[in-house]
């Protein structure tokens, strides 16, 4: 009662109202901030994928190049012909008898001062444990044991069926891991959290163990596989022997695994033609060479590509590529694996790849009694969906390139394509089954295809890998397909989680997620996203720079009045028409172009700023640099092949020759003198040889060493001295 009280009430009410409004304002602002972060996160993911895909296109060009060489090259001189012959001679498969002799390793002596793990056979669980521990401590297994292990593995694998069987009666718990990509830390984490493999705890490793991570050999030795570059680096003397045997072991991996006859585990997926009986019967050892021949034939039938490429592809196989096609990766592209590509917004159509599916033939895993998994494979084709959270309602799939839909043409397919299908296919949301144009093999399969297969073989669901997912796993097709991806931080520290799935006798999938990097846990979401985003943007800026000339041309087209300015949406249009990445450029614009108040951009100075960031060597003409930049993934691949003894060095002459061949094929206009100058300037110690790593590093082509606090001993390339040379990255 009394005016004081009502005034107080009124005052209190006003305050409450103010507080309410203030809170609402803060919330509104905060939600907007988070939405922006979310958008950036999605865009970042898209950048990674698009660049991966573009790298894939580079690889296509490389294959075209080799096909071209084989089909058309008439050496002008004996010298050049010898050069080619010498570089591309066939190596035969090791005969089975040679394999079984196994005398390869027995003669190798292990020095007394070797402190690494020593293995004896039959391999006991304790040995495996010791091996894991040794690798955790960064020790290296001696070549002799590597070879021994591979021999034993091969013997074991040969006995396994194409579709391996695992039962929960014997192993109470079965754990399925997806792609690992040489990330040993993830594997060790999994073993730490889930326990080491044992008869009661079987593991199935579903392909793509190797490539990209630096510890593929270790993973392989634990999981029985290896990887060329790494192998050769770690085993200089015996590396080649090891690789040869790996080739064979690789071919003996089972194709799929069946758990309790109810859950089918395969690497890629299925198609509407998948026939498990057929798959069970075929000779998986002979797959690789057959696939090579068949898919080359198929490529010849593809419609003309958008870019001018040699149109005639010989029907006959290229024998000199065969051994390499089934060997482990010969061209380790850092980012070069097919990503998704939105052809709905871009005009380029991905071409199919004749060799890729083979070399990369990832296999379904098998679980040995000792719990040591099988299924090696190679370079991955991770593609990711941008969704942060797996959808429970209508399954939204990972983004997919929507090529002008080419329906499956074949009525029946022969067995090599059966294999390609299960290794390369990806699920999609729409019903139906259509060719997987991005990967160049396999298909996109819809929920009806899954349902059909499950019913036909009386299965409950499928487990597959093959695609990177932000959360490490994703259900789709009404939870009948589970994608499991075990390489956390795949694109970049903080980019995604890894996951594995456990199955008990009830076969209910139980997924465990993780992210093997302590640092990221301490970061806020904002910091995590920023970090990953910076990495993506850096790659994107590199790509923009590499196309500077083309971009300038496009910008000028939008600037008819020659004002030096273009609108931001013109900028977006121009950039897309040059790079064909299908990215939301207007969304990315704030991070790539400094804010312009009136919606216009001075394009010349923007390009100059871009160049200033990227260029580090003034003594190379910028156009040459630009061209090399653009082709650098190809260059590395070619260099690696030329460097046939994997020594890491090629002679100046070889370098010159290679570049000449390459540039004439790719219509790159660079004078001989420039190349010589370049070669000489890179030969820092003037001994007539170029260290490949140094050369590539000169153009900032380094594998990003996964940062583990400060333990990384692989410095990024920084040109600190005149020679532009820095320590080559350790693998």
């Amino acid at each position: 009662m009394g005016s004081g009280t009502s005034a107080q009430h009124h005052f209190a009410f006003q305050n409450a109202e103010k507080a309410f409004k203030a809170a609402a304002l803060i919330q509104r602002w905060y939600r907007r901030y988070m939405a922006r972060l979310e958008m950036r996160r999605h865009c970042t993911w898209r950048i990674f994928q698009s660049i991966e895909y573009a790298g894939q296109q580079d690889q296509d060009k490389l294959h075209d190049f080799f096909s071209y060489l084989v089909d058309h090259f008439t050496p002008n001189s004996n010298h050049e012909r010898d050069f080619l012959n010498c570089k591309f001679t066939t190596e035969r498969f090791l005969q089975d008898s040679e394999m079984e002799k196994g005398s390869d390793y027995e003669s190798i002596e292990v020095p007394d001062n070797y402190t690494g793990p020593r293995l004896s056979f039959p391999l006991l669980p304790d040995h495996a444990t010791a091996l894991v521990e040794a690798f955790r401590l960064k020790q290296q297994l001696h070549a002799r044991y590597v070879l021994n292990l591979l021999h034993e593995t091969r013997k074991h694998l040969v006995q396994l069926p194409n579709i391996n069987r695992v039962s929960t009666c014997y192993s109470e718990e079965i754990t399925v891991c997806g792609d690992l990509h040489g990330q040993l830390d993830d594997l060790i984490f999994i073993f730490h959290k889930n326990g080491l493999p044992s008869p009661e705890r079987a593991y199935v490793f579903n392909g793509d163990f190797v490539d990209r991570g630096k510890e593929s050999v270790e993973i392989l030795m634990i999981l029985l596989y290896g990887f060329t570059k790494e192998v050769m680096h770690k085993y200089k003397t015996h590396g080649k022997k090891i690789l040869k045997i790996l080739q064979d072991v690789f071919c003996w991996l089972p194709l799929a695994t069946l758990v309790d006859e109810k859950v089918l585990i395969l690497h890629g997926g299925v198609s509407d033609m998948t026939d498990l009986e057929l798959l069970a019967k075929l000779d998986r050892h002979k797959i690789v060479s057959t696939l090579w021949r068949k898919t080359r034939k198929q490529k010849g039938k593809q419609p003309a590509k958008e870019k001018a490429a040699p149109t005639s592809h010989a029907e006959r196989p290229a024998p000199w590529l065969l051994p390499q096609s089934c060997s482990l990766p010969t061209w380790p592209l850092h980012l070069g694996s097919p990503g998704r590509h939105r052809t709905s917004r871009s005009s380029s159509i991905p071409c199919s790849r004749p060799v890729e599916p083979l070399e990369l033939a990832p296999r379904g895993g098998s679980s040995a009694d000792l719990g040591l998994g099988g299924a090696g494979s190679r370079q991955a084709s991770p593609r990711a969906g941008p969704e942060g959270r797996p959808r429970s309602s209508r399954q939204k799939q990972a983004q997919r390139p929507r090529s002008p839909c080419r329906p499956r043409r074949r009525k029946t397919i022969s067995w090599p394509f059966q294999v390609v299908d299960i290794l390369w296919s990806d699920p999609m949301a729409q019903e139906g089954c259509k060719a997987n144009t991005v990967r160049g093999g396999g298909c996109y399969f819809g929920p009806n295809v899954t349902e059909q297969l499950l019913q036909k073989y009386n299965l409950q669901f499928l487990i597959r890998s093959h695609e990177c997912k932000p959360e490490g796993y994703e259900f789709c097709h009404r939870r009948k397909v589970l994608t499991i991806f075990s390489a956390s931080n795949y694109y970049e520290v903080g980019s995604n989680r890894g996951a594995y799935v456990k199955l008990g006798p009830a076969l209910t999938p139980y997924v465990v997620q993780y992210q093997a990097n302590k640092e990221t846990h301490r970061l806020t979401m904002r910091q995590r996203i920023s970090r990953v985003e910076e990495s993506a943007l850096r790659s994107l800026r590199e790509k923009l720079f590499a196309s500077s000339l083309d971009l300038l041309g496009e910008f000028k087209k939008h600037d008819a009045d020659k004002t030096g300015l273009i609108t931001l949406s013109a900028w977006a249009e121009a950039v897309e028409s040059v790079l064909h990445l299908g990215l939301p450029w207007l969304m990315l614009r704030p991070q790539l172009v400094n804010s312009s108040t009136d919606n216009t951009l001075e394009y010349k100075s923007w390009l100059e700023d871009l160049a200033k960031e990227q260029l580090s060597r003034e003594n190379i003409q910028s156009s040459l640099l630009e061209t090399l930049y653009r082709n650098r993934s190809n260059l590395e691949a070619i260099f690696r092949i030329i460097d046939s003894d994997h020594s890491g060095f090629i002679s100046l002459d070889e370098f010159r020759q290679t570049w000449k061949l390459f540039s004439s094929h790719m219509n790159i206009d660079i004078t001989d003198d420039c190349i010589c100058d370049l070669a000489r300037s890179i030969d820092f110690n003037r001994d007539g040889h170029i260290d490949i790593n140094e050369f590539l590093e000169a153009f900032h082509i380094v594998e990003q060493s996964s940062t583990e606090g400060d333990t990384s001993d692989c410095p990024q390339a920084t040109n600190t001295d005149n020679s532009g040379c820095s320590k080559p990255s350790k693998h």
């Binding site: 103010k18 507080a19 309410f20 409004k21 203030a22 809170a23 609402a24 304002l25 803060i26 919330q27 509104r28 602002w29 905060y30 939600r31 907007r32 901030y33 988070m34 939405a35 922006r36 979310e38 958008m39 999605h42 865009c43 898209r46 939105r342 709905s344 917004r345 969906g385 941008p386 969704e387 959808r391 309602s393 209508r394 939204k396 799939q397 990972a398 983004q399 997919r400 929507r402 949301a429 729409q430 806020t524 979401m525 904002r526 609108t567 931001l568 949406s569 977006a572 939301p584 450029w585 207007l586 969304m587 614009r589 704030p590 172009v593 400094n594 804010s595 312009s596 919606n599």
Partner: protein
């Protein structure tokens, strides 16, 4: 004649808006069929420079939804509505100084900070309350673990959105 010029000017602006809206929409169009999950609409709208409240967002969604809501929003419906929003400059973002004043309202004794408990109370009980997830996420970045409080002036400075 002046009208013509004006119309042309507006047309250009509208064309620019259309491109922007399309870009943002397509980021979430996972199946490339010109639809997005309705739960992403808020993100899309906010990425286009708008700062609606939850209530305003809800109203917008009603405008762009199908007659029988499917859980998906089609681009054809979204584009004209969003274009209008941008043309009318609706839901403008909040300037930093206004934001600061909002925090100060919640901190009447002008200490320069809010305690963790106070922040939680206001954000989860007042205005358009946060979900638990939203609250946790805000706390992880905003709270200084030693003092268990948020120095809001620093926080605002840290969270600047570059619109460009």
């Amino acid at each position: 004649m002046a009208d013509d010029k004006e119309r042309e000017g507006t047309e250009l602006v509208v064309a620019e808006f259309h491109k922007k809206i399309k870009d943002a929409f397509e980021v979430f169009d996972h199946e490339a069929n010109n639809t997005v999950d309705v739960r992403e609409i808020g993100t899309i709208i906010r990425s286009l420079g708008c700062c609606p409240s939850e209530g305003e967002l809800h109203d917008l969604i009603l405008e762009v939804e199908e007659e029988e809501p499917t859980g998906y929003i089609r681009f054809e419906k979204f584009l004209p509505v969003m274009t209008k929003v941008l043309l009318e400059k609706r839901y403008r973002p909040i300037p930093e100084d206004i934001l600061l004043r909002a925090f100060e309202v919640l901190d009447p004794s002008k200490r320069g900070f809010l305690t963790k408990e106070e922040l939680i109370k206001y954000m989860t009980e007042e205005g358009e309350p946060f979900s638990q997830e939203e609250m946790e996420e805000m706390l992880s970045a905003a709270i200084d673990p030693e003092s268990n409080s948020i120095r809001y002036k620093d926080y605002i400075a840290m969270m600047v959105v570059d619109d460009g």
